[in-house]
């Protein structure tokens, strides 16, 4: 391994070290606040390290990893999400019965898994990253171990994720059997040489798709999403919604780009079908939902359906649209979960819609942030969500993927219905006041508020001036060409 390769891996090494540092802090009996602050600084250090190594990209670390602009982009997004989730976690766990310190170890390990996924170019690193991500998640979901919901959600996720991991391995084995390699680039070469994609490869890809679909909560592998979102502690749910999905999407996108699967009509048909089913079922299931966390789960199913529409073209616009959409979606969903976390009383998460009735009259600031987030999810102009959806639509139209595009437009209208339903609840008369003691830690409470303000401003900023972000994304992606 050369010096440059080592340098390129620096951010990931810092990330790995983060968990160890936290373990040491626990060993030295440090409190929650110290751990929280250290974690925050470590994440900042990761970002700094990424900035520091920007000159040596792209670097291939054969055979497992490749650190390039694409990977840096997704890793950056992941670390950003973890920063925000970590900040919100402090308030949340201060008020829960469980000792929160080990939580940070798991979060950082899981993040490392997601980050590895974004830079993997080999089935091995793909699988290791995915397992690193999942195994920490089992514990994270069931972290509040005395609560039935949490245990149930954790077990469900464990059983289903184990099953899909088996499918993933089986799919990888089939592809290996066909091509004799687990390296994405070599697989692509062999497939090209063969000319026509064989049934064995297609079967292998289809089986792998089960695992990917499961992690991204795509129909028909979406059934866990609502139960897990509801049962998991809210910060963990927001972690699943952002970090875990970004990582898996990144590796899936890289795999498909590397193999030029967009030219393979059978694969495209499969992905279009999944996209269409996700858009329809996600939106329809959310329609009558009374639980905000479940509703966000269903809406995330629909949103990843939209995202697949951007994925279909496989050209540069498509990739840019997908990254942009993910960024907008991550910011939006973090803002929404941030509100849930801040409003949740200690004994139960604030997930029932009835708790939000008339929120505006009681806590106008939170109501406005949540409204903006919901409008962004619905894709209303002036918010990031609108630009993201518009970008995705452009990518889809350019490729003449008419059926998915039409479904996207129609289901967006259905989506508008339930987002507006929540907004109208927020602004309804006769408010239900949520009694909540806020004496715990004024500093972190203010910091969480500040994070929400930043997220909201980002939502508007990206909605009004998307060019800045789009230029940034293009610059990163240009490195790889």
């Amino acid at each position: 391994m050369t010096e440059q390769q080592l340098m390129a891996l620096l951010p990931f090494m810092v990330l790995a070290a983060a968990s160890i540092v936290i373990i040491l802090l626990i060993a030295f009996r440090q409190g929650h606040t110290v751990i929280q602050v250290t974690g925050f600084l470590l994440m900042c250090l990761v970002i700094f390290a990424m900035w520091y190594v920007r000159g040596v990209l792209p670097q291939t670390i054969a055979p497992l990893l490749i650190v390039d602009g694409f990977g840096a982009l997704f890793t950056g997004l992941i670390v950003f999400c973890v920063l925000v989730v970590g900040l919100f976690s402090y308030i949340y766990f201060e008020e829960r019965e469980e000792n929160p310190r080990e939580y940070y170890i798991l979060i950082f390990l899981s993040t490392l898994g997601a980050a590895i996924l974004t830079i993997s170019r080999h089935f091995m690193s793909f699988f290791i990253g995915l397992e690193l991500l999942s195994i920490s998640l089992y514990a994270l979901i069931a972290y509040l171990r005395t609560r039935n919901n949490a245990i149930e959600a954790g077990i469900k996720y464990l059983v289903l994720a184990a099953l899909t991991s088996a499918f993933l391995l089986f799919g990888m084995a089939l592809i290996y059997m066909e091509t004799g390699s687990m390296d994405f680039a070599v697989i692509a070469q062999r497939l090209n040489a063969a000319g026509k994609s064989s049934a064995l490869f297609l079967t292998g890809f289809g089986v792998m798709m089960v695992a990917v679909g499961f992690k991204l909560a795509l129909v028909p592998f979406h059934l866990w999403a609502a139960d897990v979102y509801q049962g998991a502690p809210s910060p963990v749910a927001s972690f699943i919604a952002t970090v875990s999905k970004v990582g898996v999407f990144a590796v899936f996108l890289r795999f498909c780009q590397e193999l030029h699967l967009q030219n393979n009509s059978a694969v495209m048909m499969l992905i279009s079908a999944v996209a269409i089913l996700s858009m329809i079922s996600g939106n329809i299931l959310a329609l009558r939902q009374q639980n905000l966390k479940r509703l966000l789960a269903y809406s995330s199913i629909a949103h990843f359906g939209y995202l697949l529409v951007a994925f279909l073209p496989g050209n540069n616009t498509g990739v840019e649209a997908a990254v942009f959409y993910l960024t907008a979606y991550a910011i939006t969903i973090l803002a929404a979960f941030g509100i849930i976390i801040l409003l949740s009383p200690g004994e139960k998460d604030a997930d029932s819609l009835s708790m939000y009735r008339g929120l505006f009259w009681d806590k106008p600031f939170m109501a406005i942030v949540l409204t903006v987030a919901l409008l962004s999810l619905a894709g209303i102009p002036l918010t990031a969500g609108f630009i993201g959806k518009f970008y995705v639509l452009t990518a889809g139209v350019e490729q003449r993927a008419w059926l998915p595009v039409i479904v996207l437009v129609i289901t967006s209208v259905i989506g508008l219905y339930y987002y507006l339903r929540i907004i109208s609840t927020i602004f309804a008369d006769s408010p239900v006041t949520i009694q909540k003691e806020r004496s715990l830690n004024q500093f972190f409470y203010t910091a969480s508020y500040a994070a929400l303000v930043v997220l909201t401003l980002l939502l508007f900023g990206i909605g009004v001036m998307p060019a800045v972000i789009i230029q940034g994304i293009k610059q990163f992606l240009v490195i790889d060409r």
Binding site: I155, K156, V159, L160, L163, T164, A199, L202, T203, G206, V207, V210, F214, P220, F221, L223, W224, A226, D227, S265, A266, M269, L270, A273, S281, I284, L285, L287, R288, W402, L403, I414
Partner: protein, 636 residues
């Protein structure tokens, strides 16, 4: 220097915001000061700009404020243009506008604070829109002002919104204007699609890129817009109804602002119009027809404001005749003199109405000369000016138009002079019935008759002086003048041509029109000062009094069928068709939501089963994909 121009519309905008937002907390005096002061400030800036333009002899360079619309194929700046034409209009709008504001502070003093503030806010917004209209350096900015003026006229005509008839009048004005606006809008689109530019400079320098067909279409469409805003046949019916608003509003709409927008637009586009024979003929004929037609209606109206309203429509007709025959200076000149004497007449009428406690029927007036001396003398000056008696202003401007019409076609001149004689006749019928003879109102009204306060009489006096002397800026060569206005405007109205008419002919033309007007005046005074027309009109007079039944005609051929069609759409198509589909879709989606939820049982086993089953389905599809692709290709 170039930034100064942005102050002109800024002051009224600020006035609008302050009066509009704080109308409930400001006192009436303060509201009046803010409202009038904003316009006065604009007027002072306009004066500075005017003299700058005059000394420079060319348009002032003005930086665009910002880029308004930017697309791949065209770019529209938010830019102003200050040249001879717009600076002259600035003076008219802010000058006369200021006097009307001042007058309003006294005229509207009976209103409560909040309504008083609303009134001045609308008034300022109106002036702001009008300033935007004349300052815009391209058709789009002009259109913004154009629409703003339409909106404000709606708000002001319906100012007394508790009266549903007034609201109807306001709606009518708005709808009629919208019909015209459509023409204007289409013309802008046409220009954009053919030239990719809408700024005056660019359009007029690239006229060679347009085919004659394009030019005719654009000019005719622009003229349709002008018809709506400047109340020409067939879209004139809103203007007489617009009398529903407070009288100073009528003065503002009819004299200084709104109705002159069409004239301004055509004069501004003179380079286009000069290239289209068809459009020029159309403008002339419509103008002529309107001038004569509304003059006949004015003969038998008994509402003091209605007479003035029809006279406005008629005078606008003259302006369009001037535009049609290429006498652009004449038309702009007439806009200016008309602004003075028509504002004077309306404000005078307002003073009369004020004294008569909101009585507007001239049959119940008479002999007001004794009670309202200032109003009487100034009103008389206005009447003489509009009748075209030298040396008052109306004579010079009208004569210039008529001379140009003669050069084009003597028939135009003949009809124009006939209309001028009618004008003199109905104006002096109005004057004689109102101010001469004996008072015919109730005893109580007579008891309360009084001259209006100084805030109302001073504007009258200033406007009267202007009506008398304004003609001297355009004394034609034949009478020994240099026609300052023509040389001033020449750089903008480049396509104007000055027909050569023998001096003797010109003397003859003037002599005939003045003589006819004088005869009409004498007949009118003799006839109506002693024995006014008090009875209900009969026979042909009734047709005139009922305005040739044009409103009824529009009602029968447009409004009623449209209403019937709308009723059909509402009751049949909407209820059974659209509603059914929409609600059906909604019900279907709700139904599927209920069914899909059944899958979310919470049982891990069933989740796994579902996942595996769907994978099996996918593989079945895989293996039979040839068949399925074929199937899909058949569908799409």
């Amino acid at each position: 220097m170039s930034k100064l121009v942005y102050l002109v519309p800024l002051f009224p905008l600020l006035g609008f915001l302050i009066n509009g937002l704080f109308r409930k907390s400001l006192s009436k005096g303060l509201i009046g000061v803010i409202g009038s002061g904003a316009i006065l400030a604009s007027f002072i800036v306009s004066l500075v700009l005017f003299f700058d333009v005059k000394s420079a002899g060319a348009a002032l360079p003005v930086e665009p404020l910002f880029t308004f619309i930017n697309t791949a194929s065209f770019k529209i700046d938010f830019a102003f243009q200050v040249d001879q034409l717009s600076s002259l209009f600035l003076l008219i709008i802010t000058g006369v506008g200021f006097l009307i504001h001042l007058y309003s502070t006294a005229y509207m003093h009976e209103e409560t604070e909040a309504h008083f503030g609303r009134y001045f806010a609308y008034l300022n917004l109106f002036v702001f829109s009008m300033l935007l209209l004349v300052l815009g350096a391209n058709y789009v900015i002009m259109f913004i002002g154009w629409e703003g003026v339409g909106l404000c006229s709606y708000l002001l005509i319906g100012y007394w919104f508790k009266n549903s008839e007034y609201n109807y009048a306001a709606t009518k004005a708005f709808v009629m204007n919208r019909i015209g606006d459509l023409g204007f809008l289409l013309a802008i689109f046409w220009l954009l699609s053919k030239l990719g530019a809408v700024s005056f400079v660019e359009v007029f320098t690239h006229l060679d890129k347009l085919t004659p067909g394009d030019i005719t279409a654009i000019t005719v469409l622009l003229f349709v817009g002008a018809m709506g805003k400047s109340a020409q046949i067939p879209l004139y019916t809103w203007l007489p109804d617009a009398m529903a608003g407070p009288t100073p509003v009528s003065a503002l709409i009819h004299a200084a602002t709104m109705v002159t927008a069409g004239i301004y637009m055509v004069a501004r586009s003179n380079a286009l119009y000069s290239l289209s024979e068809v459009a020029q003929h159309l403008v002339t004929i419509i103008g002529l027809a309107t001038a004569l037609f509304s003059a006949t209606i004015a003969l038998r109206q008994n509402d003091i404001k209605k007479v003035l309203a029809y006279s406005t429509v008629s005078q606008l007709g003259y302006m369009f005749i001037g535009l049609g025959v290429g006498a652009y200076t004449g038309a702009v000149f007439h806009v200016m003199t008309h602004a003075f004497f028509k504002a004077l007449l309306f404000l005078g009428a307002g003073s009369v109405i004020h004294a008569m406690h909101h009585e507007q029927d001239i049959r119940k007036m008479g002999g007001l000369r004794k009670y309202l001396p200032t109003t009487h003398w100034t009103f008389l000056a206005g009447c003489i000016a509009i009748a075209g008696i030298p040396p008052l202003s109306g004579f010079f401007s009208k004569d210039e138009i008529l001379a140009a019409a003669y050069a084009k076609n003597p028939v135009y001149w003949g009809l124009g002079v006939a209309g001028a004689a009618l004008t003199a006749f109905y104006m002096f019928r109005l004057y004689a019935t109102t101010f001469l003879g004996n008072f015919r109102g109730t005893h109580e009204q007579e008891h309360h008759l009084h001259e209006s306060p100084a805030a109302m009489t001073w504007p009258l006096i200033i406007l009267a002086v202007l009506s008398i002397i304004a003609g001297f800026v355009g004394v034609p060569e034949v009478l020994g003048g240099g026609h300052m206005l023509r040389s001033f405007l020449a750089p903008v109205l480049v396509t104007e041509h000055h027909p050569e008419i023998e001096h003797s002919t010109e003397y003859m033309l003037m002599g005939v029109s003045v003589a006819l007007a004088a005869i009409a005046i004498i007949i009118a005074i003799n006839k109506f000062s002693k024995k006014p027309q008090l009875e209900e009109p009969a026979g042909f007079g009734k047709v005139l009094a009922d305005k040739w039944y044009v409103d009824e005609l529009y009602d029968a051929i447009i409004v009623k069928p449209l209403n019937a069609f709308a009723g059909f759409l509402k009751n049949v198509v909407e209820k059974s068709g659209i509603d059914g589909i929409v609600n059906g879709v909604g019900r279907f989606v709700q139904y599927s939501a209920r069914q899909l939820r059944l899958l979310q049982s919470g049982q891990v086993g069933s989740y796994i089963l579902f996942m595996v089953l769907s994978m099996v389905v996918f593989f079945l599809v895989y293996w039979n994909q040839a068949m399925i692709t074929h199937f899909f290709q058949k569908i799409f």
